[in-house]
Every structure is written in structure tokens, then in C-alpha cells.
Symmetry: C2
Subunit: 231 residues, 2 copies
Amino acid sequence: MSGVTEVPDVPEPPAYRDGAIDLLGVIGYGALTAFGRLAEDAQLAPTLADRVQVSALAARQFGHFTAVRDRLVELGADPMTAMEPFHAPFDAFHAHTAPKTWLEGLIKAYVGDGFAADFYREVAAFVDPQTRELVIAVLADDGFEAYVVDRVCTAIGAQPDIAGRLALWARRLVGEALSQAQRVAAERDAMTSLLTGTVDRPGVDLAAAGRMFTRLVENHTQRMGRLGLQA
Amino acid sequence: MSGVTEVPDVPEPPAYRDGAIDLLGVIGYGALTAFGRLAEDAQLAPTLADRVQVSALAARQFGHFTAVRDRLVELGADPMTAMEPFHAPFDAFHAHTAPKTWLEGLIKAYVGDGFAADFYREVAAFVDPQTRELVIAVLADDGFEAYVVDRVCTAIGAQPDIAGRLALWARRLVGEALSQAQRVAAERDAMTSLLTGTVDRPGVDLAAAGRMFTRLVENHTQRMGRLGLQA
């Protein structure tokens, strides 16, 4: 337990650590709201088997929350305080994108959370290795994709005219997510500076930022394609 | 893997096994509905810390559900079919006892689920040892009690005039629970015969049934006492 360095797991310098805390804060609050939302969606499930499946997803999100919370505590941060800046944007996002049907809820969980997860993974490249590994493990798919793709494709197969409306819905989700992300970026210097860099540490240049945005859009287009929807 | 008996973990005779499946079915569906209800209650929490605490309770209920489901599969039963007979009574119970406030939700989780858990533990004395151990592990308290007692007592301390209304609420919960339990008992011979016995196997006599009922009432009175409420 004693060693050369005193706090080997805590990243330095402070600005860098603050970025990790912000990233964990946003993922933690995202997981907590995903838990509540999926648990609510589960109650709208057409069958008990679907209810069990979506409840399992909700419970898993709570597991992600606890993993992130424990890492925040390891970093010496208060988890409630770390999540606080993200209440307003997340709550606004969910208020603007309340699913009206079971299928809309599934698409929101897959397309919306998928887009957010891709972004968090990009940011995770700039934090300490231990936090990065945790973030990547937490955001791993866990077989959710296969379930949603199957359910959505079956529904569209049975009723092809719903595809257009569902594609519009997915586009609205991403638009809302980007709008809230912009708000976060404007307010959270610590997280933004992970990407943009600081006086002490280089960030990504404009070309790299462009490639990152391209990756995000490509992944989103692939998800839409798997659902049989036009991005 | 090969041995003297072919299916060592499956209780015999069939009537006995049917009782175990009924018990697991009722506990499984109870846990699944408790998950949904607690996840919903969590959204009404006055603070984020309370929301996390009640969300953790919900996630734990889902863990209980999966433990029960796995045991049903081990016994060769279909979990969805095993839970089916309990949809109507549970859904009716929850429809009749939707909490109007955060405190009512906490009391429902503690007093209502506590009463049900005591009853399941009594029935578990009559099933195979492996199912019994699982049931007892699943119904263990896990520190929930301390949290609810603290929150309710603090609220009553701050506003003593709510105690009377909350005591009435708790009595209504138990009345509704007994009414639904009676309905289950009338319809589910397999579970009822665990207690009453069959031609092949003795059940509890009238004196033992009386003692069981006394234990249930005593435990309930103790829970109410801990909350500072009159039973």
C-alpha cells in the first residue's frame, strides 16, 4: 500500500483531473437518468418478456452509475457535486424528448444513448488511463443493440409506414442532444479543455476535431441503418 | 455431473414442486413490480441523494427477480408462466395503493413489502432446502430498514401532525395486501397446499397457523413502532 508515489490513481495536473471529474459526472448523471427513464419505459412494454428485458437494461444503467460514483470517490470528488452541473441539460433533454410509444423509447435508448456514448469515448481518450478504462467498460454495449434492432425491425416489417415517423424521431433526438451538448460545452471549461487543450497541454487540432465529428456521424448513420431507418 | 440421483436439485413429489414454483412465481413478480414502483418513487425524491438511495433499492429488487427467475429455470419451469397467476392481484394492489407522496412511497416499501416478505418466509419453511435458502437470501433486509426509519422519523419529528395520516396509510396497505393474499390463496391450490398439506404430506395444524398469524402481526407492529406509528 506504500510506494514511491503517494496517490498513484489520481491524475495530475489539477486541470486534467477536473476534466476527468466532469466526464465522470456527466456519465454518472446520464446513467442515473437513463435508469429512471428505462424503468419507466419498461412499464409500457407490450409483453412481460419485454418488460423484463428493458428492466434489466435499467438495472444495468444503475450498475454503471455506481461504478462511476466509486471512481469519483477514488478521485476525491463528491459524486453529487460532480453530477450537479449536468442536471439542467439532461433534464431539459428528457423533457423535450419524452417518448410517446414503446418503439420511440427503444429508439431513444439506442440512438440517443449511442451517440452520447460515442462522444464520451472520444473525450475519454484525454483522461487518465484508469478512468478511461472504466468509462470504456461502462459504455460497452452488453447485447442491448441486438435486442433493440430485432424489436424495431420486426415492428417496421409488420407496419412499414411507421419507418418515416421513427426516422424523424431519431433525427429530433440527435438535434436535441447536440443542442444540450453545446450548452454543456459552453459552461463546462474543465471538460471542454480536455478536447481543446490548455496552456500546459495540447488538445486536438481543428483537423482532429473534424475527424472526431465525422466518426460520430458515421457511427450514428450505421445505427440508423441497422434499424432500417434513414439518418 | 453423473450421480446416484438424476435431478438432485428438483424437489419431489410434483405437488411439492408446484408449491415451490408458485412461491418463486409470486416473489419474482413481486420483485419485478417493486422494481418498477421504486424506480418511479425515486423520481419523486426530495434530493438527489434520496433518488440514488431509492434507485439502488429498485436495482436490488431487479437482482432479486433474476435470482428467482434462475431458480425457476433450474426447476424446469417457465418464469413468465410461473409469474402469470400473480399479475392480477399485484397489479390490483398497486392500483389501489398508489402513494401520493414520497413518504407514503417509503412506508409502502417498508411496511407492505415487509409484511409480504414475512409471509413468504413462513411459506418457504415448506419447500425444498435450496429454494428455501434462496428465498431467505432474496428477502434479507440489506440495510433498507435503517434508511426508511431514519427518513420517516425525521419527517415526523419535523412535522408531528403527519403521523396520524401515515399510520392510517400503513393500515390501509396491510388491509389491501391481506385482501389480495386471500384472493391468491383461493385461486392457487399449489401454494395454499404447502401450508394446509395434502393427502401425502401433512401441513400446519390450526394451532400452528394461529402462531404463524401471530408472528406476522407482531412483526408488523414492530415495524410500525420503529417508524413511530401506531399499528
